[in-house]
């Protein structure tokens, strides 16, 4: 805990291969305590692979420094124990269990460590997502796509992670809810939760983020403060351009 002490997450020279095919070739990424960092990039760039490797779901080479400790291809449970949380692309809900049970299980480690304040967190999550409160006795497998997203996000928040990683949380959500969710991320950041956000919705992601990485073909193509990237002509062309063209079309 000296020079690195405000670096919550530092990934260096991370390689991940599926069989012989390298999906990530030497990624370096840093996230400081309290920051919201976003990773954008085209389909198949390796964003999901990156989050899975940091989480220990996929074997990797390179070092992962998290919360003052170095990990080499660690186990998922170890990292969760150290305060890492992931809303995975597949959501991984417990489909035959109720919404409320799914949420409560999010606090399993807190419960196991004798922290009994998770009831308050549950109430907070229900007030953030009233829809989940209405459906608390429903089986998670029968929720709509958007409700499932809310549940996955809420479940991860129940664990009060130091760093919350989200893989395309706005996927399939109505625009109104998407805006709401991004507002929640901004709130969480203000409360001191660090967030690593993978998003297709580059415009919204760059707006809330402090710092951004652009992943292309398994490598970091660009990185910088989110506000700078949002004004970078290449980014506008590749990731924001479509939307502005769309708007031109609509307005004409």
């Amino acid at each position: 805990m000296s020079t690195q002490d405000n670096k919550l997450l530092n990934v260096s020279d991370l390689h991940v291969a599926y069989g012989k095919v390298e999906a990530l070739t030497g990624i370096d990424l840093t996230l400081k305590e309290g920051q919201l960092v976003t990773v954008i990039g085209p389909n198949g760039a390796g964003k999901t692979t990156l989050l899975s490797a940091i989480m220990g779901v996929l074997p990797s080479t390179g070092t992962i420094h998290f919360n003052g400790q170095d990990f080499f291809s660690p186990e998922v449970e170890t990292l969760v124990g150290h305060g890492l949380g992931l809303v995975s692309e597949k959501r991984e809900l417990f489909s035959t269990m109720s919404v409320q049970d799914n949420l409560l299980l999010g606090a399993f480690l807190r419960y196991r460590r004798g922290d009994t304040s998770y009831d308050t967190t549950l109430a907070e999550i229900y007030s953030l997502f009233p829809r989940l409160w209405e459906r608390r006795h429903q089986q998670a497998g029968t929720l709509s796509g958007g409700e499932r997203q809310m549940l996955a996000i809420g479940r991860a928040m129940m664990g009060k992670p130091k760093l919350l990683m989200l893989d395309e949380p706005s996927l399939g959500l109505a625009p109104l809810i998407t805006r709401e969710i991004f507002r929640i991320f901004a709130d969480l950041r203000r409360q001191g939760v660090s967030i690593l956000l993978v998003e297709q919705n580059a415009r919204a992601a760059l707006k809330v983020a402090d710092y951004a990485y652009v992943l292309e073909g398994g490598q970091v193509a660009m990185h910088g403060p989110a506000a700078d990237l949002a004004n970078d002509p290449r980014i506008i062309e590749a990731y924001l351009g479509l939307a502005s063209k769309h708007q031109e079309l609509l307005s004409s």
Partner: protein, 345 residues
Amino acid sequence: MNLQIATLLGQDGLTNGAIYALLALSILLVFTVTRILLIPLGEFVTFGALTMAAIQMGKLPQLEWLLLGLTCIDCSLDLYQQARSRFNRRKLQGVALKLGYAATLVILVHTLPLAELPMGAQILLTLALIVPLGPIMYRLFFQPLADAPSLVLLIVSIAVHVSMVGTGLLLFGPEGARTKPFSDSGFHLGSVMLKSQTLWVILVSIFLIVTLFIAFERTLYGKALRATAVNRMGARLLGISPVFAGKVTFALAAFIGSASGILIAPITTLYYDSGFIISLKGFVGAIIGGLVSYPLAAIGSVAVGMVEAFSMFWASGYKEIIVFTLIIPFLIWRSMTSHHVEDDE
């Protein structure tokens, strides 16, 4: 057949059915959480009964050495694993605790006047010796194979069963054993006599089943085990490790198995190799529940017990055949009603 015979047979059927139901539940529990078909469950039954019998005869049960030996192997594996990463104080405490537990039991067994102990203490001692074997068994034989295909798990399960039967012969010898009933009195219900042990078996079984049900539905630990069964990766992402879940379910299975053995030991003479056929009948019950439904498995098991008791009266030579043929119509019915479900992992 008159009413008296029918109630006697019904009593037997219900007693056996209650035990099969307990075993069916543990088979289901272990299977859904770990994908392992726990063939050695029957050995926990015989170990429970035979250890209890040995204690009542004032003999050393010998099982304490098995426990100590396996604990030593388990702990050296733990230490080896830690030496490769880094030593962690909490884990070292765990190792010390496990060794201390096994050593304490060895000392207790060798100093206590076993035969003179009250029955409750004898039961506790038996459980204390056998239950830890469950998690150790998981740690040594199944944990390294957690990602192996189901067939490999099944083969290992059979191998563990065979070696435990051998160990049983070594520890307890080839003689059968029976234990004293929990209480001596019988009850009269009209003109028929109810054996008190029958009541014990039924009451304790119902109590255990209800407790398990509440634990699984209401407590977060129970929910965590269910969650592992539903979605292993989802559970891992919340810090619920499959190793933890595996050890807990194996401990539960060892507890239920040995408790069943202690319950039936006063009614039936058990040999070192009797466990398999008993747990197989629980398995038939579990199959009737389609290896998923707990209530159906419990009902199926009671049906197995009843069919067994009544076929004993009408066609005693064919008893086992009749019981095991019971599985066929259910398998046919299952294969006709259920459509193939894709593996979602």
